[in-house]
């Protein structure tokens, strides 16, 4: 009797400590966002005076108005949106067509092709040979250099093929007998069945394209074609926050710290917007994400 009381009391403490640890971890994850958000809206005077601003007395959106009255910031945001929308669409089309084809047993030579694709996940020839291919194709300084060389990857193809494997061939055969042609089978049966899986891949592609940085470091030299992440790097890391093109004199006074914070928030909002949809697919995403190249 006594020992069981002890156990429950011990268990109660155990779960309290657990909950406390988790709350601390969650706060550690949240605090930087909270702080960045607060400072982006605080008045210049408060930003300059306080060491650790936890809640501004005066709210202002001047930092955001500054960013969007420059010429560089909206342009870079536009490039990143273009990548996230067009890039994701292209990636989904290419990846799903290839993996569906590879999942069908009537495709000749599919074993060899699968092996070739697996090989690309194991051996990476490095940065320079890939760079030379992009350069020889004349894609340097083209927005397409941020999409076409990263359209798909061996991991994505193999993962999606695994999904298409689960669509029984009998379903297609039935449709073929009913007079559907191959294109009809793909368009009317396979695609509708795989919409939710495609959505999951699409969301992870979209986040990756929105966060495009490395390929832009390699392939884009002209500031007019910078995606948002490169502009952010210039603002945050190199501290060049005078973006130019601002005519409203009231906005010249915005502290550089506020501009940086506002830029971080703008670049994070789209991710927060798709986040609830992403959450549905975390289990799948853990596989997609953990094997990112």
């Amino acid at each position: 009797m006594k020992s069981s009381v002890m156990a429950t009391q011990g268990e109660r403490w155990f779960s309290r400590v657990n909950a406390l640890v988790l709350i601390l971890v969650a706060l550690l994850c949240l605090f930087p966002f909270y702080y960045v958000f607060i400072v982006s809206f605080a008045s210049p005077a408060e930003v300059r005076q306080s060491v650790l601003l936890l809640f501004p007395k005066q709210w202002t959106a001047d930092a955001y108005r500054y960013l969007f009255s420059t010429s560089a910031f909206p342009r870079a945001t536009g490039v990143s949106l273009f990548l996230a929308i067009v890039g994701t669409a292209c990636s989904l089309v290419i990846t799903s067509m290839l993996s569906y084809g590879l999942s069908r047993k009537r495709l000749k030579g599919r074993r060899v092709l699968l092996l070739m694709i697996l090989l690309t996940t194991l051996f990476n020839p490095g940065i320079i040979p890939g760079y030379l291919v992009v350069r020889d194709l004349g894609m340097i300084n083209s927005v397409w250099s941020l999409i076409i060389p990263v359209l798909t990857s061996g991991w994505y193809v193999l993962l999606m093929k695994g999904f298409f494997d689960s669509i029984p061939a009998a379903l297609e055969e039935a449709a073929l007998i009913d007079g559907c042609n191959d294109f009809g089978v793909w368009y009317r049966i396979v695609l509708p069945l795989s919409l939710s899986s495609l959505a999951a891949f699409g969301l992870f592609y979209a986040v990756a394209y929105w966060n495009t940085f490395f390929t832009a470091v390699l392939y884009i030299n002209e500031p007019e074609k910078w995606p948002l992440q490169i502009l952010l790097q210039n603002m945050l890391i190199d501290s060049s926050t005078a973006l130019g093109g601002v005519t409203d004199s009231a906005l010249q006074d915005v502290p550089s710290q506020s501009k940086k914070m506002a830029a971080i928030i703008v670049s994070t909002v789209p991710i927060l917007l798709v986040y609830p949809f992403l959450q549905k697919h975390f289990a799948k995403g853990a596989m997609v994400g953990s094997v990112k190249e």
Binding site: E11, G101, R106, P129, T152, I237, A286
Partner: protein, 300 residues
């Protein structure tokens, strides 16, 4: 004849795979061929076919270069720190999360701690600067306000690896729990009940039931991690690197970028990259063997 007929019947299927296969051919297989320039004095004007062959000259240059040991040391050190400090954390965190019975609380915590995974390294590096900068950073602001001396987290080589490790933990620790939580969810509830009947408290249940149940997942992830000992995230290091810390910051990929893209030494930098890739391939193959030896499926 029948072959032709089936090919024609399946024409649509071949059309479907064609663009994807072209992609792999051009962007994955041509570069594999392209590593040959590491055995040449590649000149962009002459191209691969007409450039002069020099054998292993670039590799000789790499191995006799003191920079090489610096690169190797930094790469291995950053990965070792990751292995020691980062790797156990998601396991511990998921054990903690598994004990939470309140649904909404668990869901809320998950939503929050997964989020940093989806942010770009630019944002993470920017936030790090905001937190750690010597003159404007919050941490130093607090230290100064408490009467302490400001610390040069970002420009002192002594702190650089530590800063990278903390960043990686902040960005990925939550996301790292996904796979362990999935494994824990598969544990048979009856095992816990049996353990309880035998008088095991919470900690002993974790030790004797949960941990053994996810041991295989831990081993596989550990092996995979070791298989990637040569990889350090380019974006993270590139963004955090500055002149004063370059000696501890330069890793293979940043070095290749500098020598190849910025200085145009295509052949030499390809050789550096090829060395890294070959060692990486060997490590992955060994890791895969090991994981099969432990009775697991392996990566391929």
């Amino acid at each position: 004849m029948t072959m032709l007929r089936t090919m024609r019947r399946d024409l649509f299927l071949y059309l479907l795979v064609l663009p994807g296969l072209l992609f792999f051919l051009i962007f994955k297989y041509v570069p594999m061929w392209g590593v040959l320039i590491s055995f040449q004095n590649y000149s962009p004007y002459l191209g691969l076919w007409h450039s002069e062959w020099v054998g292993f000259a670039h590799f000789d240059r790499l191995f006799s270069n003191p920079d090489f040991f610096l690169l190797l040391r930094n790469t291995l050190a950053i990965n070792a720190l990751n292995l020691i400090f980062f790797f156990p954390l998601p396991i511990m965190l998921s054990l903690t999360m598994n004990e939470i019975r309140t649904r909404w609380f668990k869901g809320a915590v998950q939503s929050v701690i997964y989020l940093p995974h989806f942010l770009s390294w630019v944002v993470i590096a920017g936030i790090s600067l905001i937190m750690l900068s010597e003159s404007e950073g919050i941490v130093n602001g607090l230290i100064a306000a408490a009467g302490g001396e400001r610390i040069d987290f970002l420009t002192n080589p002594r702190y650089f690896w530590g800063v990278l490790t903390v960043q990686s933990i902040w960005k990925e620790v939550g996301w790292g729990t996904v796979i362990f939580l999935a494994a824990i969810a598969g544990v048979d509830v009856q095992l816990y009940e049996a353990a309880k009947l035998d008088g095991a408290g919470k900690l002993r249940q974790i030790w004797h039931v949960t941990l053994p149940a996810i041991r295989n997942v831990i081993i596989i992830l550990l092996i995979l991690r070791i298989g990637h000992m040569m990889d350090v995230g380019f974006e993270q290091v590139y963004l955090m690197m500055n002149g004063t810390v370059s000696e501890v910051a330069e890793v293979f990929d940043t070095y290749v970028y500098r020598a190849g893209i910025l200085q145009g030494q295509f052949s030499f930098s390809t050789a550096v990259g090829l060395f890294k890739s070959v060692v990486g391939l060997v490590l992955v193959v060994i890791a895969n063997r090991l994981s099969k030896k432990f009775g697991e499926e392996g990566l391929y």
